[in-house]
Structure formats: C-alpha cells, structure tokens
Symmetry: C2
Subunit: 227 residues, 2 copies
C-alpha cells in the first residue's frame, strides 16, 4: 500500500478539533501537519505539545506551528478549525497564500443555546460551508467535513472512534482528497453526502449530538454511525 | 419479565412507517395494534395484510383496521404516521376521541427536494412535532419519536435494525410510555433528546439520511446509531 503524504494546515489548530485531528493524523499517517493560529507563538507551543504527546507513544510525527497565513501558504489542504463566525475572516486572512488546486475544509457549525438545548443557527448564506466557499479564492475548492466529531474522544488516542464523517463538495477531486485524508484516521469512515447545498443538514447534526449527549443516559461526547 | 400491553393506534397506518411499526410491534410485543386510515376499508385491508404476514411467521398478532378517529378513540397511544402536512388535520380529526392521559406520537419531518438533495423544511411553528403539540387537546401530551427510521428495513422482518430513535417530549410520563414502546422493538434503542423545542434538529436528520443514502457508495435505507 502506497500512502501519499499531504501537507495539511490546521487553521485555529490550537482548539479542540485541531488538537484531535493533529493527534490522529500524527499517529495514523505520515502527513506533514502545520498547526496554525493567529498567534504564531501559541501555534508553536501547541505543535510542540502535540508532538510530545505523540512521542510519548512512540510516534515521530511531522508537526510545526505557524501563523495561519504561513501555515496555509505551505499546505495543500487547510482545515478551517475555527469558530463559525471566524470562518470568513480566516479565509480572507490566508487567501493570498493559497494556490489554485489547494483545498479548504470547513468543519464548523453555527449554533445557539437556550434553556432547552442547542439549536442549529444557519448563517444567511445557508451554511458555514457555503460561507467558506463564498470567501474562497477562485480555483480553491471547499469541502465540508469533520462537522460532527466528538472532540474529546478525537483527542484521546486511547478512545476508539467507530464513527462516520460526512463530506459535501462541488468539486470531485477536492472531495476525493479530503475523503482520503479522513479515511487515514483509524475508525473514521468518510461518507459522501452530495454537494455543498446539502451542508445545512450536516451542520444541523452537530447541535443534535450535543442534545442527545445531554439527555440520554450514559452517553456523552457522541459521534454518529450511519447504518 | 412482565410486559405491559398497550393499545396503539397507527394513524395513517397503511403507509410505509405504519406498516413497519405494525409488523415490528406485532412480532416483538403483545400490544393491541389498530391500523387507522381515513378509509376504514383500506385500514381493514392493511391490517389483514399485516396479520397475514405475521401469521406466515408464526406470530398471532392483535391487529384491526378502523378509520383514524375510531382507532384513536380506542387506543391509549396514537402514532401520527401521516405526511407532515396532514399532521394538524389528523389531530383535529381524532381529537374528540382522545382522553386525558392518552399520548400522541409525532414521527413526521418536513422536507423539500431539489436537484442537490433533500432539505429540512420547517413549518412556521418550528417543527412538525410542535404542530402536533399545538393541535393536541389539553391534557394529551405529544412525544416526537420514530422520525429517522428506514421504512423499508423496518417493514422487512428479516432485516436487523441496530439503530436508534430519538425522543423529545415536555411530559416525562408520556416520554416514558413511548420509550418503552420503542424499546419493545428488537434492535431499536430509544434515546432522550430533551424537550419538544429540540425537535427541529431531529426532524432535520431525516433529509440528511436520504442524502447520505443517495451519495455514499453501498449504503441505502439508512438509520443512525449514536456512539
């Protein structure tokens, strides 16, 4: 089996999802991982921490920390692991360094919270993935993925996943690139869910997972498997 | 183990979901099942068909067909297995026969379809479950449940389920009644997801399941398991 090595930037990679993806890709693949942050010192500290956690388990991962723009410029795939209201700004901040054919990945979901639970909060564009696509430079496709992952379990390398992640894209090559990246994580199964127009229903699954974890006995930090 | 017997009306029970629930409860429980339809002859024919299918497998189920109002009047739990745009009308048509403490169950989800896929279409009230609750007589609680079930697999008694159904309710006793009914179906796990205010995210999962089945290779007639 030949495994292609990809340079992946985790923009906002000091957060929970960035940590989980960095640790999983660092353990399960040979990808070059660039942790991005608005603050390059925080990015470097996070990358060092992830590398140390992997080294403790005997994994020699390729991890470095950079500011978001520098990380995106060096990568061929950049994951927008930032809060939903920072997606547009983050794409704008890194756009100059993106080359045609680079791929942006949008995992964020807009949510509100009230006394009953969490609720989907769609941006005016319809979905956060669409916000990213609208902000992306020409020739840089966006793939929606990694929306519904339990961040705590992702970052706990002792935890089995056994869950799915859904992909939406309007560009087949970009979808395949992200599908292969997702499939590289042990226990994570990527499933295609159509074009970006289908992103709202995927982003709406994120608050549902939180509501189920808050109300169903004995379950927490949930992912989902389609079957 | 003592199993309580409940009289359950399946309003609109000649459709796919009604058929699946009737066959599963008929096989796996001793509940008295009343298939409802606007046309009592169609209801009786469907009930006879379900009973014959169960008898072929050696199950002597209690099944009868009635018009919706008569079925609801005799039952303590009535499942609104009708299209989303008929939920309000159906509740109104059966309201006179409901007693305080009877429970209505709302499984419908509003959807639209376009060239990309299926999309959530919320009624003005916020969810179909809320439409049912708003239409229900005083003292008759509504539980949202059975939204995300693969109807074809449900009606195929050779198919294993291994999936979850989510419950939303504002009345704890009613939620428990429906939880127990759901748990009586082999391979179906009921999970609480909070109050009816959390129904929109559950109803939004239904179009997502269709989109995944339409796009992911090798998967069809999907349910979901939270894990």
């Amino acid at each position: 089996v030949t495994t292609q090595t990809t340079t992946v930037a985790l923009l906002g990679g000091t957060g929970d999802l960035g940590e989980g993806l960095a640790l999983r890709w660092g353990r399960d693949t040979d990808h070059e991982l660039l942790v991005g942050s608005r603050d390059p010192d925080r990015a470097a500290a996070a990358a060092d921490g992830y590398a140390a956690a992997l080294a403790d388990r005997g994994h020699d991962a390729s991890l470095a920390g950079l500011d978001n723009a520098a990380a995106a410029a060096r990568a061929s795939v950049a994951v927008l692991a930032v809060p939903p209201y920072h997606v547009g700004d983050t794409v704008a901040a890194v756009a100059d360094g993106l080359d045609a054919g680079d791929v942006l990945v949008s995992p964020a979901a807009g949510m509100t919270r009230d006394g009953d639970g969490f609720h989907a909060h769609r941006p005016g564009a319809g979905s956060v993935t669409r916000v990213a696509a609208d902000a992306a430079p020409d020739g840089v496709p966006v793939v929606g993925a990694f929306h519904n992952l339990p961040a705590g379990r992702l970052a706990d390398l002792d935890a089995d996943l056994g869950i799915d992640t859904l992909l939406v894209a309007d560009d087949d090559d970009a979808r395949e690139t992200v599908r292969a990246l997702a499939a590289g994580i042990e226990g994570l199964r990527p499933l295609a869910a159509g074009p970006i127009a289908n992103a709202p229903e995927i982003e709406g699954l994120t608050p549902l997972l939180i509501n189920v974890a808050a109300n169903a006995d004995g379950l927490h930090d949930l992912g989902v498997r389609f079957r």
